[in-house]
Each structure stands twice: as structure tokens, then as C-alpha cells.
Symmetry: C2
Subunit: 464 residues, 2 copies
């Protein structure tokens, strides 16, 4: 009869150990298909352990299919025809690590939130309140578009802050705009032709490509995206930031906006995705009204995110669907779960409802204003001052810095890296011809520590 020693049992229970012994003998071919295992009673007696232990081990082997049972006859070894060798480790060498992040003295490309500017204690207090007051709501599955109170609070905010009138039902909340783009492609169609701005944020076209849809880069003039070129490539969906284009800062004027709406209204398949990612941070005057607010033909899908205003590591964004697309969304995609956890949805709801968000935005706008002024000051008082031109400094978290130099951008970027500075050039945001755009740098000042600013500009001067 089968015999196993229980001397090396380690931390396993008796039945687990016995199960492993038999399993290994089956995998190693020691026990062959069709052979009968000892009866529970005799096996227990033979090994001097309880019948229960044998029963448990057989039950596990049975569940996993290593053995089968024939009623009133007993347990038999199953046929596991396999040429694959058993291994508990899929591989033993360590995989190559992900690309390690280099640490910079000053990163002028990052829009990461500065830890000093996030209202941690307030946020912690709101979470605590949510957990103690809303615990049963917290466990109730959110509708696909997000919990209703959050969408109501967003609608109220948009009404007050952006003069936009939308119904909470039109608002779809998701874990970041990147995720929402994916949903939109599913909603609008994979066969459609998409178009993005050139220059533009590279990630947007990367997402369209990763989703396997046709995506064109359309050049911009001083007023925004060129409509003639849109028509040429027969685009259906355009993805634009008319209120503050990144990185050029262009504000699409009202005339071009109406032209764009006119273009969209010419065909049922056409839509405009309005990415309003940083409307909150205009330093002078009122925020530029959204394209969505003058759209009477249900052609504009509005997107915005709390990752820019609150923290880049809190993943909450939303889109506003025109009424007919909203209906289509609920019908065809309402089965999707909302990707934002209830805990954060309810916390953000309170943050909005209690007026904290508005105060936070104002604080952040002042913070970024100071950051900009500090950076401008450092530049003006630097040896570079006579060779630079600043453009588009009225809004957002960056401006354009033109430097009169003969060095190609590539060289500048490499030298900057050596100095611990991370820079990006305007030319990097162009997909097609960009030669006339050399020597202009996109200076994102949001993540630079104020104490580092002067030293960062000293280092910048060294480069040129």
C-alpha cells in the first residue's frame, strides 16, 4: 500500500500534506491513470491517521480532478495527459523593472500636485464624516454614471462657475479622462474617424491609437483647429480644447466656435469633444465660456477633470453627454460599473456641496499665480532676460518661453537633464512639421517648489 512519511510536514495540516504527496505522485507518474487508491478506512489504518484526514485529502484531489470516484467501488487516478512539465514557478529570473523615474531638481513638465497645496486635514475630516454618516450608502452600488448627489453637485458647480445648464443625468463620472475617452469610443463607434489638434497633448492620440481607431492630427492656425483640413480627412469626431489649448494657449474665438458647431451640424455622425481641462485657472478676467454652453444642436461632449484641480492622484473626471447620446449610453453601456469608488465619490460630493471646492480653486489659482510671477521674476533678473520672449502667460499652469539661441532643442533638453532640469520643447508636441517652432519651451511651473525656483533658473542660464 501507498506509504508517506509525515516527518517533513512543515506548516501544512495533515490532510494538506497528504493531498500534496498524492498529487505529486500523480503528476510524476508514480501513480498511473486507472489505478485504484486505497480505501479510506484501510489507508487511515495503514498511515495511522484519522479517516477524516484521508477523506479531506481525497475530497480536495477529487475537486481538482486528480482522482475520480466510482460509487460503491472507490477512488481512481484520473488521466492527466500532459506533455507540459510541472513547475511551481512560472519563471525564476526577475523581470526587468519598469522604467525607473529619474529624480529632477526641477521638473518643468510635471503637473503633479504639490503636497503643500492639498487640503489633507479637510479631506480626512470629510472622509471620516462620510464613513460615519453614510455607511449604508457607501455599500450601495453606484449607478454607471456615478452617484446622483455627486452629479448634482457637479451640475450646480458648472451652473455657478461656468454658466452651464446641464442635467445631472447627462454627467458621467469616471476614473480619469483617459478612461472616459475609451468609453466615448465605444459610444460613438470604432468605425468613426477621429481627429486631434497638432500640436497637442500626445497622450490623447496615443489613447485613440491604442483603441484601434483611425486618428488624424489636424494643424492649428491662430484661431484653433483648421476646419478645411478636418473636411479633407473626413473626420467625424474632433477632440479639442477651445478655451485654452495645450501647449500653445490659443483661445478659439467665438467666430471659429460657431464655424466648428456649423461643421458638426452638417452630419449626424459628427461630434466635438471639448476637453476643458484647466478652465479654472485663468488669472485675468472670467473663465472663457465653454463651447458646450452655446451648442444647441447636441453636438458637443464636454469633459473636465478633478485631477487637475484637486490632485493628480485622485482619479475623478466627468463628461457631459448631449441628451440623445445620454439615452444611448444608458441603453447600450449602462451595464458598466462606475470606476470611481463610492468613498471618493461621496467625499468629493461633500467637498463640492460645502463650498470647499470653490475656495480650493481660488487658493490654487493664487498659488499658481504666485508661482508664475516668481518664475517670470527669476527669468527677468537672470542673464538670459535679454534673449527671451514669454508667450501665453495669462492662464493655465504653464507659459511658453522663447529663447534666442542657435542650439537645437534636442541639445538644450539633454543639457537641462544634466543640470537636473526636466524641460519640454514646443516642437515635441508637433506631430508633423515643426521646424519653425524651435527654441520655444513649455514651462509648467505647477510642480516646482518655490524654494527651488531661483536655483532652477540659474541652472537654466548655464545651459545657454
Amino acid at each position: 500500500m501507498l506509504t508517506y512519511s509525515f516527518s517533513d510536514i512543515g506548516s501544512d495540516s495533515l490532510y494538506e500534506y497528504l493531498y500534496k504527496c498524492i498529487k505529486n505522485d500523480i503528476l510524476d507518474g508514480v501513480l498511473t491513470p486507472g489505478n485504484r487508491l486505497p480505501s479510506k478506512r484501510s489507508f487511515a489504518k495503514h498511515l495511522n491517521i484519522s479517516i477524516i484526514t484521508i477523506e479531506n485529502a481525497y475530497a480536495q484531489l477529487l475537486a481538482e480532478g486528480y482522482i475520480y470516484s466510482i460509487p460503491k467501488k472507490g477512488y481512481y487516478i484520473a488521466d492527466i495527459s500532459t506533455s507540459l512539465t510541472k513547475s511551481s514557478l512560472p519563471f525564476v529570473t526577475s523581470p526587468e523593472p519598469e522604467q525607473k523615474e529619474i529624480s529632477y531638481f526641477a521638473d518643468f513638465t510635471s503637473s503633479q500636485t504639490h503636497p503643500d497645496t492639498f487640503p489633507f486635514s479637510l479631506w480626512a475630516k470629510l472622509i471620516r464624516e462620510v464613513i460615519s454618516n453614510d455607511s449604508s450608502a457607501l455599500m450601495k452600488n453606484s449607478p454607471s454614471g456615478g452617484i446622483f448627489p455627486l452629479r448634482q453637485a457637479i451640475a450646480n458647480h458648472l451652473k455657478q462657475f461656468r454658466g452651464m445648464s446641464v442635467f445631472p443625468e447627462q454627467i458621467i463620472v469616471g476614473a480619469g479622462t483617459e478612461y472616459l475617452y475609451g468609453l466615448l469610443i465605444q459610444l460613438l463607434g470604432y468605425e468613426k474617424i477621429y481627429a486631434v489638434e497638432d500640436p497637442g497633448y500626445q497622450k490623447i492620440s496615443a489613447i485613440y491609437k491604442s483603441n484601434h481607431v483611425q486618428c488624424y492630427h489636424i494643424p492649428m492656425d491662430q484661431q484653433g483647429i483648421c476646419i478645411e483640413q478636418l473636411k479633407e480627412v473626413q473626420a467625424d469626431i474632433i477632440h479639442i480644447s477651445p478655451s485654452h489649448h495645450f501647449p500653445t494657449g490659443i483661445i478659439t474665438p467665438i467666430s471659429r466656435r460657431y464655424e466648428l458647431l456649423g461643421w458638426a451640424s452638417d452630419s449626424n455622425s459628427r461630434y466635438i469633444i471639448e476637453d476643458d481641462y484647466d478652465c479654472e485657472f485663468r488669472f485675468m478676467g472670467k473663465p472663457i465660456p465653454s463651447l458646450q454652453s452655446i451648442d444647441v444642436m447636441e453636438k458637443v461632449i464636454y469633459m473636465n477633470t478633478f485631477t487637475k484641480t484637486l490632485a493628480s492622484t485622485i482619479r475623478i473626471s466627468y463628461m457631459i453627454l448631449p441628451k440623445h447620446l445620454m439615452k444611448q449610453f444608458y441603453q447600450t453601456m449602462g451595464f458598466y460599473s462606475c470606476t470611481v469608488s463610492n468613498f471618493e465619490q461621496y467625499t468629493l460630493t461633500r467637498f463640492l456641496q460645502d463650498g470647499h471646492f470653490e475656495r480650493h480653486i481660488n487658493r490654487m489659482r493664487n498659488f499658481y499665480h504666485r508661482q508664475r510671477d516668481l518664475l517670470l521674476d527669476c527669468l527677468k533678473n537672470s542673464p538670459l532676460s535679454s534673449r527671451i520672449t514669454i508667450k501665453e502667460e495669462d492662464a493655465g499652469l504653464h507659459f511658453l518661453l522663447y529663447v534666442d539661441t542657435l542650439f537645437p532643442d534636442e541639445v538644450i533638453l539633454k543639457r537641462a537633464k544634466v543640470e537636473g532640469l526636466r524641460l519640454s520643447s514646443l516642437s515635441q508636441y508637433y506631430f508633423k512639421d515643426c521646424s519653425p517652432k524651435e527654441h520655444t519651451f513649455v514651462m509648467n511651473y505647477s510642480a516646482i517648489h518655490p524654494d527651488h525656483m531661483k536655483e532652477a533658473i540659474d541652472r537654466l542660464c548655464k545651459i545657454f
Copy 2:
């Protein structure tokens, strides 16, 4: 000269009000393209307001493109050729509400977490700790696959709990498995042929369809998915739950597992997505080992989720990529931001590291065990007891209830609804022929309040 009255100014500032007045006159055609606006100085004098106010109003109109300036000459009305009418409201009727959820006395289809079982105060304590100790880490953008400590903690858990050896780098964290399926399609390819189990969870094939990939339903026999049929449809990717199929409860035996691995190894384009959604809740014996743990050919993509074990409203899932797919992911899709907020990633990390998760799983397993026993007890002591057969009650959060009846499933489900019970029938999970599967109901007992159980079964008896 233009004249506006400031008597109805409301809550607007002077410049905002003036800006709106001029804008409306431009949109209404009162001010026509090419006309010159009054000079700032004379306009200010005329309206008896400060020049600054005029300047601010003009600046806003200029930024939005309603007017343009000619240096040393002045400001002119821009040409806004539009046939669209202005409207501040995209539409005035309220949109139809989303489908309202009906409230049931007992919902046997829900796997929503019961508020009593979630460790709220512990979770709140951990969030508080994370906020006070890790605030700067909280603001640092997470790598695409999730923060490293969480992936390390998951790898440790899998090692201890599932006997799986994986590197943290292979683990990709995302906001729910639904989201991860979408990423996987981008990684594996839109041109591939996908296959899911029939019967099966309808959402999975809905997701594949929404992502516009070809997806077949493959019948199952007593051992799991039928390989012959897989070959017939030339499937590349199969999506299965070999350790506990929903809703049949079938455990794919080791022989079929090796056959499946053999099938996958026959072609470079073939992969198996192993959805291990409820491996933690086996009541008797050890958890069934994962298919991933015997895969030596890098053919299995393992998926699991904390939404089943922790709370359905906390959206954290993960997938484990084979080494070569992991590399491909970082190269082609590493630009994606992680969809789970840092706050929840760090909180879950502590929950895992400190052993809370294991204790929580044990508590939940006991809770579900009691729920199952209570439901079985109620059924046995009911007038229905002689007409029912229970199947697959050893694991997970549901079992199958066969009732000897002549009523079609449809009738039963409707009657149940009238009684405040939400039921689902096994036949509803079949995509193709399901006639022989009538009269079997999928009884998910996880969300039923224990105090409602007896009454729920009394009502169930009334139906038959």
C-alpha cells in the same frame, strides 16, 4: 454712443455686466461686424464708470473673439457668421431619468456587500494613518500598473494564500475588472477572436461586444469549456473561470486544465484569461489552485478583484501578465495613468500588509457560510422541501436550486417580483439553447439580510 443701464446688474461685477451687454448686442446683430467700439476713455466718461472696468470688459470680449483690436486705432466688432441661434440652455425639458432601481424585500441576484460586514472603523483608521504618514507619497503620481507597495502586498498575499509565485511588476492594478478587460483587448489585439463560457456572466461578453471585438459563446460540459468548439470558431483568447464557474459552480479538473494549456501553447496568438473572481470563498478544503500556477508557457493572464472580497463599491482589481506581455504592456500602454486613486491604493496596501485582509476574508467566509446554512435550513423546513434539489453549494456566494414545477421560469420570475423577491434562473445565463435547464434558480445569498431570510422563503413557497 452705446448706452447701457446698470440698474439690473444683479450679482455681476460692473465689468462682467458690461461684457454681457456688449456680447448680447453682438449676438443679436445690434452691433454689426466691422463697427468700431467707443474708445475706452470716452466710453468710461459716457457711462460714468472707470476706464479699468471698460478695459476688463473689452479684454474679455477680445479673449473670446467677439471683438478684435487694431493697434493705435481701436476695437472692432468681429464677424461671427452663424445661423445658429443663441441659447443658454441646451434644452429645457428634463431628460428621462435613468432606470430607477426597484427596491426588493430580498434580492437573490445581488452580490452587493452588506454594510454590517465591512470594517468601516478599521478602514477609516487606515485612511487617517495614510493621510498623516504618507501625504507626500499620496501626491506622487502612481505608475501605470499601480503603486509598488500595493503590488508587492498582492504578490505576498498570492504567495501565501494561493501558492502563486509572481513578481510585483507582473501585477497591473485597475479600477475594476471591467476596466482591465478593456486594457487587455488593447494589449492582445482587436483583430483577435475572443471566446467566453456559455452559460456565463453576461456582462463579460457585453464588454467584448462594446469593445467591438468578435466574441463567441462556447458551450461547457461537466469539465468546463469544450476545447473542440474553441478550435471550431478559431478562438485566440478564451475567458474562463476554471476554479469556480459562474453560475454552474463547475471546477475544471486538472486534466482539462492541461488540455487548455496545451491548446493555448499551439499558437503564439492564443491566451487564456483566468477570472478567479471568488477563489477566496470555498467553504470546504483548500482553495482550488489557479491555472496560472501550472502555466509554464506564459499563456495565462490571471485576474482577480477586491470588489468581491472587500466591497463592491471599492473599485480595485488586478491582473497578472505573463512576462513577455508585461514588457509589451509597459512599452505600448505604459502611458496610461493608473485608474485607482492613491488614497485607496495606500489604504488597501496597509490593509493587506497588516494581515487585516486575511482576517476579513475569514470573517466573510464564515458570514457567507452562515448565510448559506440559514438559507438551506429555511428551504428544508419549508413546504417546498420535497420538491427541491440543491446543487453546487460548496463555494462562492450562491448555489443552484432546482424546483420540481411545471411553471416556466419566466412566470416564476414575474411572480417572485410581485412578492418582492428578485430571482434569476440558470436559463438566463445561457446564450444558446437552454431549454433543458429550466426550473433551476441561481440563489445568491450574500446580500440578503439574515432577518429577512425566513420571510423570503415563505414568500418563495407562495409562488409555487
